[in-house]
């Protein structure tokens, strides 16, 4: 059914269709709409889940960890400081191989305190062992939730998934979204049946202390599961496309890259703006293209490398920065291209931090600068 709704609503309706047994979150802007929608569904009896209000994001993440270990499908959501407060638990959830799904409504990090969008929060936890998917549209916000559960709960993966959506731009922006019927979702997403859970019938010990003789293998196993997800993500996206008749998710999306001489690599809602800029530039005879990262962790090196084959100049647009170094996507992309023996020139640009608007003009400026100075972390739109 098509409806004109916020990205937050699209996420909430998708989550409800996945029927998690336990939902827990702590209020933080701009994530709050998602859990408010879910809370009202529970209050109205439309969603039969335990909705638990907790006293911090640390506890929200811990609570869903416990519920997941006890065998339930779970959901949480956060943003910015909340995600960073959770970060200790995020590492733990991944290490314990709990298939938690969390929506990160991307927002800048303090200080200075800033409630507007960039992607510094999710990028700061990229090493936590969570799969990270970035939505471009309100439609994709919901669609990625279905795919996230399917992925996280796949026995060969068993890794938590973070669905990232840009604060306000997606979370509060209204779009026409096709919300599937419950029966369709049930066909796509089987019920969650963990092989092991906290159960007196088979009383396993979860979360043991592993010393130097074991830790390395356990970490390697998590890494291998993440790498294995690189194969599963496209097949789940293909299944999704077959069943729902639209493309969402996957590793990367190539936009007008076939003959492109210049390309931007980016993730999230900014890709919509980039596509518009590219269409305009193409009209002017500039062979520009976009590589949109849907999956950022695990990093799809081969897909990225293949998609950019033949592109002479690549600009990476990061809405985050590893301060004192480069944007995180830039660093990963540069590594992938070196490993892929690309000859492309790769520049890194930082834009949109703390909600600074990224317009078509900003994108044009990046394409222009791509022909100029070599930079790894060139700020775009700095005043004076």
């Amino acid at each position: 059914m098509k409806d004109f709704i916020e990205g937050s609503d699209a996420v909430a309706r998708a989550v409800a269709l996945c029927r998690p047994g336990v939902i827990s979150a702590y209020p933080i802007t701009p994530q709050t709409h998602i859990v408010e929608f879910l809370a009202s569904m529970v209050a109205d009896g439309k969603l039969k889940s335990q909705f638990i209000n907790v006293e911090s994001e640390h506890s929200a993440a811990s609570l869903v960890l416990g519920a997941s270990a006890a065998g339930e499908r779970v959901f949480s959501a956060s943003s910015s400081q909340g995600l960073i407060l959770m970060s200790e638990v995020l590492f733990n959830i991944a290490g314990m191989r709990m298939p938690v799904v969390l929506a990160c409504v991307n927002r800048a990090l303090s200080a200075p305190i800033n409630i507007w969008n960039d992607q510094q929060d999710s990028m700061a936890v990229r090493d936590s062992g969570w799969i990270q998917l970035y939505a471009e549209t309100g439609q994709e916000c919901g669609d990625l939730i279905f795919q996230a559960y399917r992925l996280a709960e796949s026995p060969e993966v068993r890794v938590p998934v973070m669905v990232c959506l840009d604060g306000y731009l997606l979370s509060h922006g209204l779009e026409v979204v096709d919300v599937p019927e419950a029966a369709e979702v049930d066909k796509f997403l089987p019920p969650y049946r963990p092989t092991e859970k906290l159960d007196p019938a088979v009383p396993m010990t979860f979360g043991p202390l592993a010393g130097p003789d074991y830790y390395l293998e356990i970490r390697h196993d998590l890494h291998a599961a993440m790498r294995g997800a690189l194969k599963l993500i496209p097949s789940i996206a293909a299944d999704f496309s077959r069943q729902f008749g639209r493309n969402s998710g996957g590793l990367v999306e190539a936009y007008r890259l076939e003959d492109a001489e210049l390309a931007i690599v980016a993730a999230g809602s900014v890709c919509g703006t980039i596509k518009e800029a590219i269409d305009a530039l193409r009209q002017e005879g500039v062979k520009a293209g976009l590589l949109r990262l849907v999956t950022y962790r695990p990093f799809p090196e081969e897909a990225v490398s293949a998609a950019l084959a033949g592109v002479g100049r690549v600009a990476v647009l990061d809405k985050a920065i590893s301060l004192g170094a480069t944007g995180p996507i830039y660093a990963d992309l540069a590594t992938a291209l070196v490993r892929g023996k690309h000859q492309a020139r790769v520049n890194g640009y930082i834009a949109g931090l703390g909600g600074r608007d990224i317009t078509i003009e900003t994108i044009r400026e990046i394409f222009t600068r791509l022909s100029g100075e070599e930079v790894s972390a060139g700020f775009v739109g700095l005043k004076g």
Binding site: G95, M96, R97, E196, P203, M204, T205, F206, P208, A210, Y214, E217, I218, D221, A224, A225
Partner: protein, 89 residues
Amino acid sequence: MSVNINSRPGSARNNRTGSWRVDRRPKFLRQNCIACRLCLLVCPEGIITGKAKNSFETDYVYCKGCGLCAAVCPKKDIEMIPEDTETEG
């Protein structure tokens, strides 16, 4: 091959902590025992068994030789003896 990250119940039994004992081990004299079960209750290893009077014993495979059982026995019917003493029976 994926690693099982959870542990089997009670598998710590593989760890024979009796090797920790340095110089003393408890000897259940079985003379004045009143079956009060205090030794069984306070043993930090949970390895003392017995029901009737003068039937209690410990498991030297795990006994760390802390001496709590001997210390709590109201009848002084458990004695800490040197580790190299031969066991009777």
